[in-house]
Amino acid sequence: MLEIKNLQVKLEDEDKQILKGVDLTIEPGSVHAIMGPNGSGKSTLSYVLSGRDGYEVIGGSVSLNGEDILEMEPEDRAAAGMFLAFQYPVEIPGVGNMTFLRTAVNAQRKARGEEEMSAADFLKLVRAKAKTLKIDAEMLKRPVNVGFSGGEKKRNEILQMAMLEPKMCILDETDSGLDVDAMKLVSDGVNALRDEGRSFLVITHYQRLLDHIKPDIVHIMYNGRIIKSGGPELALEVEHNGYADLLAEVD
């Protein structure tokens, strides 16, 4: 599904290298988690994969289903199946949530040469999916993320994911700012989307999210590299002992 080879990235405006050779292969249908201390490059990885400005790739490659995506615009990556659930979802005053969702769904369909979804079909679908995420009609009508609580914003990210049906989903600290109930709701939403054709990359600081979204493989990222990979037990180890032991091995 996703193949990252020796990815090296620096900031565009500064002479500062953030990713120093990341290697990661994610198979279809699998869930990978990346943990690591602050400043290790986790969020940068998610931004670079989704095509955000401000970063310069100085080495390596990324392919999604065999297609090189590094030269692609963000919207083309999205149409190819990439989705980033933002750590801080953006508020867009004046743009209705429903308009936003429908524009996005139809833009992707158009890019893939598919027919646009009719207003009626769209409405039916979005209502059904919103209901399972406990997103009410009022939230769909309001401007995108404006006045949403932290939990509502994250649920809204998952709703977008459910509507867009991406193949490669990256969740950037989706658990941040969520209480226990909201985390359960969001995790249930993600788990409902798990299937053999869809892969996940879950970026998190804490093991607790991984209790809900069970990963197949856990990676530890530090100083721009993946320093260790293992099964779910690796996350538990971090939870109990912190990163100190792992980092000591590397340093």
Binding site: E73, P74, A78, P93, T99, A104, A107, Q160
Partner: protein, 427 residues
């Protein structure tokens, strides 16, 4: 201060190019306007309120030609149930217009009744304009009062069931039109005025609205998409107690448009809202100059102006709230914002507050910015390409001004038109 000889010369040359109406009820009104104009002189670049906008082409004796615009879209407001009036290059088109009768109001044409000795409009025609010359002079409006060839005189006595829609058409590349409309709303009456369409190569229009106590006036107009027009429009409004005055303008294209709006709240608890959304591309200059005077207690005023500018377009906003002594509990609000889609465009703003009462709430804000990169990336990351994503954000930005329109059907019409025009302006 004496006028410079050059201004006197230009003004006299301009005046001499017009025949003056000498008989009928409006003669003295026109003569006093002429004398006001002589005292003020036509605007020049040295005038404080013409620093950002060159008045020359609005003052020249012969207007610059303007290519005709052939619309490839349904006329604005065509789907609205309305009383429709049509002016072609400033000349009334009787055939294209509806019969001038509607319950709750009387409509007459200035040109038709100008010869009469007595007319109700004599109390209003040029008098709101004259009152609006202090403290800022507006010579182009005085010029209009002196020489306007036509216009409509509407007296509203009841709650009118459908809007009056004036459509302007432009069919001559050298037309120079001077229209002067007068609307008097009697106590408790209500009417909506809609205006649309390219009017002439050069258009000078004055609208005077006298709103009596408890009366309600709504005004929605569109200007566009005739690109080469030059237009100077003035609205003068006087608001009685508990009256409501709401005006919204949507503008696209236009090498030179100056819209002035001068309102005075003279009765307690009156409400005045003035709003505008404009889309400027390239060789475009749009100027909103607004002056709202609070001269009564507990009145509310709002100014909401939004401009989206690209490819070297220029937007101007000069907005003032004047709170006179004794106008306590005034609630005044003013916001002017521009979205610059590139580095070549500019927005020039002069927000002003002048307050002589001590128990008031007045605020003003003015911002200029680019498209929010975070929002743009968010949209693109969901698969919306850059151009439609930008349009969506632009529309959202302008929609805040469109929300000032109270009638949902007309607001929808304006929003739809705005979407269509933005789509056409996509670079």
């Amino acid at each position: 201060m004496a006028l410079a000889q050059q201004i006197i010369d230009v003004t006299e040359a301009r005046i001499s190019a017009f025949p003056l109406q000498v008989s009928g009820w409006s003669a003295t009104n026109r003569e006093s306007a002429l004398s006001r104009l002589r005292d003020m002189g036509l605007p020049g670049r040295r005038d404080e309120y013409w620093k950002f906008t060159r008045p020359d082409s609005l003052c020249d004796i012969v207007p610059q030609t303007a290519a005709l615009f052939t619309p490839d879209e349904a006329p604005v407001f065509a789907s609205v149930d309305r009383l429709h009036l049509v002016f072609v290059d400033g000349v009334f088109d009787e055939v294209a217009s509806d019969d001038l009768s509607l319950e709750g109001l009387t409509i007459e044409r200035l040109a038709d009744v100008a010869g009469k000795d007595i007319h109700w409009a004599k109390d209003v025609y040029g008098s709101l304009e004259a009152a609006g010359q202090e403290p800022v002079k507006r010579p182009l409006a005085a010029l209009n009062t002196a020489f306007a060839t036509d216009g409509v005189l509407i007296r509203v006595t009841g709650k009118v069931s459908k809007p009056v829609n004036i459509t302007y058409l432009h069919r001559s590349e050298i037309s120079d039109a001077y229209l002067h409309h007068v609307i008097r709303l009697e106590e408790g009456s209500e009417v909506t005025l809609l205006e649309n369409g390219p009017a002439a190569a050069r258009f000078n229009k004055v609208l005077e609205v006298d709103v009596a106590d408890d009366a309600v006036f709504h005004h929605v107009r569109t200007q566009g998409r005739d690109h080469e027009r030059r237009a100077a429009t003035h609205i003068f409004g006087k608001l009685g107690a508990r009256s409501v005055f709401k005006s919204f303008t949507l503008t696209a294209n236009g090498v030179l448009t100056r819209n002035e709006c001068v309102l005075t709240l003279t009765g307690d608890d009156a409400i005045a809202h003035v709003a505008g959304a404009c889309v400027g591309d390239g060789d475009f200059h749009h100027d909103d100059t607004v002056f709202i005077t609070h001269d009564a207690e507990r009145c509310e005023s709002r100014q909401v102006f939004k401009k989206v500018l690209r490819n070297g377009a220029t937007g101007v906003f000069q907005g003032k709230i004047l709170v006179k002594p004794g106008a306590q509990k005034t609630d005044g609000y003013q916001i002017s914002q521009s979205l610059l889609l590139d580095d070549d465009s500019q927005f020039l703003a002069k927000p002003e507050l002048e307050i002589y009462a001590d128990d008031v709430a007045c605020s003003h804000g003015s911002t200029t910015g680019a498209i929010d990169e975070e929002s743009l990336f968010y949209l693109r990351s969901r698969g919306v390409p850059e151009a439609p994503a930008t349009n969506l954000l632009v529309l959202a930005f302008l929609a805040e001004a469109v929300e000032e329109i109270e009638n949902p059907e007309i607001a929808d019409e304006i929003l739809g038109r705005l979407e269509d025009w933005l789509e056409r302006h996509k670079s």
